[in-house]
Symmetry: C2
Subunit: 338 residues, 2 copies
């Protein structure tokens, strides 16, 4: 564990959820952009708040821990702290707190978190997930990694609930595990890390707002069985392609016949953009999360850069302000620099 009062630095990566056909289940982390955070723990005195949030950026996100996604995630962690200590003490037949030199109850812990968001909130690349995941991975490091990654995903999901109203793990899971992750089941939570070959990722963030609630409300509650079958063929193909490092199979499987046809109408120029990116050599791609960002996967950096040019050209052409990123899949997840 890390001594009281000592800051550690955290890098929390952006993530792409709803990986084309893998709506609600497949996501991946990228190396750029990422949030920078710092966290330390202190002895909590009397009834002072157990969490202090310090914003280092200009987004004016709430600092009340119950209204801040990182705060909500940390509160969930603290809530299970005492029980976890007891569990480990019984397992190892020692007093875990004494052995680890950490407080014997959450009531004695206070976390201070500085957040510098480099991932723009609302861009669709897991900005809230990065704050939630970064906070709990950092806090867990401070207390000697008491909790498993699965636990941390559960805690961080409380941040997602605050941000979008729904406990979902499709950004949190890749943010914490790194690489491509499958959320096989949400209740009970099961995250499966999937191996993947090197993939270059081009992301474009058109500067429009797509409200997650809108993106959800336009989805149909029922889908045709024959389309569901097509979708699960592609999902199985995508998982197999990633695990076999078969780029062609990945490319052929990157097709979404259920969500994308509905949601893409919220994003200007989506169909045309996808077309020109694929013509430029991209394996495929789609809406990142619930948008408005769009991502494309490519086999080489050269192709990923050509894809970026196409994106710039198209959105410049229709006068839509936007940002682009060319990056790679992040295989480590949240990183702690102690």
């Amino acid at each position: 564990m890390v001594p009281a009062n000592q800051w550690i630095k955290i890098k929390a990566p952006a993530t792409v959820a709803n990986m084309v056909c893998g709506f609600d289940i497949l996501g991946f982390a990228v190396n750029n952009p990422y949030d920078e955070m710092e966290i330390r723990w202190m002895e909590r005195l009397g009834d002072e708040p157990s969490i202090t949030i310090i914003n280092m950026d200009d987004y004016q996100l709430p600092t009340d821990p119950e209204k801040n996604v990182a705060g909500a995630a940390l509160l969930a962690l603290l809530e299970e702290y005492d029980e976890k200590l007891k569990e480990i003490s019984i397992e190892k037949n020692i007093l875990a707190a004494a052995a680890g030199n950490i407080p014997n109850t959450a009531a004695k812990i206070k976390f201070e978190v500085k957040i510098n968001k480099l991932i723009k909130p609302g861009s669709g690349v897991g900005s809230s997930a990065a704050s939630s995941a970064g906070a709990v991975v950092g806090a867990n490091y401070l207390i000697g990694n008491l909790f498993t990654k699965d636990d941390l995903v559960r805690f961080a999901m409380n941040g997602e609930k605050l941000a979008s109203g729904v406990k979902h793990a499709d950004n949190i899971a890749p943010c914490i595990f790194g690489g491509v992750t499958l959320v096989r089941s949400i209740f009970p939570l099961e995250v499966v890390a999937l191996p993947s070959p090197q993939l270059f990722v081009t992301i474009v963030h058109p500067q429009i707002e797509v409200r997650t609630a809108d993106a959800r409300s336009i989805l149909r509650q029922k889908v045709l069985l024959k389309e569901a079958i097509k979708q699960w063929g592609n999902i199985a193909g995508l998982v197999a392609g990633l695990m076999k490092s078969d780029y062609d199979l990945i490319g052929r499987s990157l097709e979404d016949v259920i969500i994308e046809p509905v949601r893409s109408i919220l994003i200007p120029g989506f169909d045309e953009l996808k077309k020109v990116c694929k013509q430029a050599g991209a394996l495929g791609g789609g809406i990142s999360g619930s948008g408005p960002s769009i991502f494309m996967l490519s086999k080489t950096k050269e192709i990923a850069i050509s894809v970026e040019k196409e994106m710039n050209q198209l959105y410049d052409g229709i006068g839509l302000p936007h940002h682009t990123y060319v990056t790679t899949i992040n295989q480590t997840g949240v990183e702690v620099e102690a």
Copy 2:
């Protein structure tokens, strides 16, 4: 290639389609039961039929090649023979027929096929697929393996169309490729062979008739999106579990929330059977194809035998005649013994 008039022997394995959550896309071959076949080619004289079917069993299946599944598959192969020869001749810049010492046109070929069905028709373990697949794999061997496995799957699907009215590949693909196969897409056809760890398979065939047409007609045409999402989480989990040899993940993913709840009502004692098999240690299982056979997967032979006992006990208890098999996944597909 094999000289004219010389018989070769073929073993065509039974197959399990609709592998739990993988409705219409995932299937696997088993080592027992299997059909025995023999095939030879002869010079076709004048306008005699190009295919002769000789039944060696008592099922009295049609011998008219256009009405026999093996015949229909072979006719599809012969139909593409001339074109394939031309294609290969151009590619290799030689006369393929002369080089391979095979007739230069399908018009000069006659196939004779003996079929001894050991897989009972209508049992739900790919009886028709075995005949169709066995015939075209054997014929292809005779003509020097002109065609790819993908081609053979396409040809054999004509047999399936004859048997069930629908061109489907979920039995044909594992029968020809062996192991566990994914039919990612049916038009255009794409089969992906999936690696899998050793798995023991227990199959029970209750002696009732489930008409494929009935099993199809009771399916709902629309499904809830939230159930589809659950299903595709399990499909992704199953593919990952097979490829990682993670038996627990395989077990947790063997859940079908869409098809099984509807179709299982056609099979007496289904829910109870599944329950007792899982209590006996089976990883999971479900309806084989459209039934009535039920299969269970287990990690060890001992468990697979316990599962068989449970099956026997349950169906003996309700006085339902049945057959059981304890076998393993067949990794080779149709075998030719020349």
